[in-house]
């Protein structure tokens, strides 16, 4: 068969790319299971034959892991739920209701997607200070709940739902509230899941805003904690820092496994429609 050789090359290329993609993560995991004293030694460990969990214990001693997880979890969860609700509400109005100025309002919301956070960060910082919220978790939460991208996604989602369901309900005398809450909101749950998973992924990993807003260590989120863990140790032990990195990855991996489909749909939806 003449096709065999090119397809071999194809698999070889894909395999190399897969090893390069997963390799660093695998190395992180196996090195975190090495005794701290051996963390620098080469060749790198490929298989955790004799796992040593002392680095994980050390992480808990050096940084306040439960507090960091609690802070990150709280911030991420409130933002995710807040975005799901507000995006669904605004998206529904933009998709399903007619009123004067609707297109202009929607255009304003859309255009804010293109403004980089760094351009507005200084005035937002001052607003937060003015509201007396600096160095509180609310400083991260409140500005992140209104979501232009989420609103856009939910509008697209509602546009894809059948129109006649709502019309039939209205003919039967259902109020706009009932039409929304008993017909469209339940149907929109998969779309809201997309918004929620995207928000989770982004804000669990967020670094720039927490770095600016959080001053006291008791308000640090996990990415900030990891960077300080690395700073505290200098080059003392890689294993301990990498154990921290692995711990921080666990929720991301869980979301990846369960929310993969939603994440993928959310990330590509902006591009295809």
């Amino acid at each position: 068969m003449t096709r065999t050789l090119p397809s071999l090359a194809r698999y070889a290329a894909l395999l190399v790319a897969a090893v390069l993609t997963l390799g660093p993560v695998w190395w992180t995991f196996t090195t975190s299971l090495r005794p701290a004293a051996e963390s620098f030694s080469l060749p790198p460990s490929l298989f955790p034959l004799d796992p040593d969990f002392s680095s994980y214990v050390a992480v808990f001693e050096q940084i306040r892991v439960p507090l960091l997880v609690l802070n990150s979890g709280l911030v991420t969860a409130v933002i995710a739920v807040g975005q799901m609700l507000t995006a669904a509400m605004a998206g529904y109005v933009f998709a399903r209701m007619e009123f004067r100025g609707k297109n202009a309002l929607f255009a304003i919301v859309l255009s804010t997607m293109m403004v980089p956070a760094q351009v507005t960060i200084v005035p937002v910082f001052m607003l937060i200070r003015g509201m007396g919220l600096s160095d509180t978790l609310l400083a991260l939460i409140i500005p992140a709940i209104p979501t232009a991208f989420g609103t856009f996604l939910m509008r697209q989602y509602f546009l894809g739902l059948p129109l006649d369901l709502g019309e039939a309900a209205a003919l039967d005398g259902a109020s706009p509230w009932r039409t929304f809450f008993s017909i469209y909101a339940p149907l929109a749950l998969p779309g809201m899941a997309i918004v929620g998973v995207l928000a989770f992924n982004f804000h669990w990993n967020e670094f720039f805003r927490p770095l600016i807003f959080m001053i006291s260590e008791q308000n640090y989120t996990l990415p900030l904690g990891l960077v300080t863990l690395q700073g505290n140790l200098g080059t003392g032990s890689i294993s301990v820092v990498l154990a921290g990195v692995v711990l921080s990855m666990i929720p991301a991996v869980v979301v990846f496994l369960f929310g993969q489909r939603y994440l993928r749909e959310g990330l590509t939806a902006g591009a295809s429609k």
Binding site: T21, A117, V124, P146, N205, F207, L242
Partner: protein, 294 residues
């Protein structure tokens, strides 16, 4: 007015309120605020001082700012080109004939780095690229290449920052390309095969034009996000050695929150925003010539 349409109006404004209020307070007002602040010198502590255009004119003569724009330009060009090329190559390979489970495996693998935080990724990469005990130099030593000072030499530091960024982000373009390729009708390839289009020619004359709308979207998104790079250079190099990996956003951060020069930070932010708008507009103009809609 019937009670129904009145309750409809209440629902409408109540449902819109959180989003419109949020967008207004946390995006629109801050843009105006940034514009105003850019004309002042202000350190938050003492009262602001009007300086006219000085924040802008000083940017032109500030060598750190100039270097940061140059670094960002180099970063964007190289990182985006690499990201799109790698993503396209892998998307074409994954979409060719193979068992379904294998395709799912590769797709998930290339998508995986996207879910990790840039801070974690940068920390682990910092160890992999360490000059004396890093795995990368160890692997190179096996084939006789002497240790490379990856993060401590100005030339290599930018290479590492780009490599780490591309490693984490190529999956995004990859996902878009996989979607674009899946939408290409198979008959076109069959017709092309009759005309003898195979391999590179097939890719150049059939595949690429057919997915060109996706390429446009992927490149617009990749450029916008690359122009805002911060996490990777901050964690990997803190902008150094020297200023070799200092990006525009790092200078905004340092001006505002390290040196307390809020006016200057606002001015740089505005220049960055205008740049993003110009680049995006230029891309859509170029697209008129190169993007082919079926």
């Amino acid at each position: 007015m019937t009670t129904d349409s009145r309750s409809g109006a209440v629902l409408r404004w109540l449902f819109l309120a959180p989003t419109m209020l949020g967008v207004g307070v946390f995006v629109l007002v801050p843009i105006v605020g940034s514009l105003a602040l850019a004309f002042f010198r202000w350190d938050i502590i003492t009262s602001p001082q009007f300086v006219g255009l000085r924040n802008f004119t000083e940017l032109a003569t500030d060598s750190t700012v100039a270097v940061s724009f140059l670094n960002t330009a180099v970063f964007v060009v190289v990182a985006v080109a690499a990201q799109l090329a790698i993503a396209m190559l892998l998307a074409v390979l994954v979409q060719s004939r193979m068992p379904a489970w294998l395709r799912v495996f590769f797709r998930s693998t290339f998508f995986f780095p996207l879910v990790l935080s840039a801070a974690s990724v940068s920390i682990l990469m910092k160890y992999l690229f360490n000059e004396s005990y890093g795995v990368i130099n160890w692997a190179l030593s096996l084939v006789g290449i002497p240790a490379v000072p990856w993060l401590t030499s100005p030339q290599w530091a930018m290479v590492v920052v780009i490599a780490v960024y591309v490693w984490q982000n190529f999956g995004f373009s990859f996902l878009l390309f996989v979607g674009g390729l899946a939408a290409v009708p198979q008959e076109i390839y069959e017709a092309g095969a009759i005309d003898g289009a195979t391999g590179w020619r097939r890719f150049q004359h059939l595949t690429l034009p057919l997915v060109s709308p996706t390429v446009l979207v992927a490149s617009v998104m990749a450029i916008i996000s690359a122009l805002q790079v911060f996490d990777q250079p901050y964690v990997l190099t803190r902008g150094g050695p020297g200023d070799s990996t200092r990006t525009v956003v790092m200078v905004i951060y340092e001006s505002a929150f390290r040196q307390l020069e809020f006016g200057r930070a606002s001015a740089i932010g505005l220049v960055l925003m205008v740049l993003i708008m110009l680049v995006t507009a230029a891309q859509f103009r170029l697209a008129r010539r190169f993007v082919f809609y079926q």
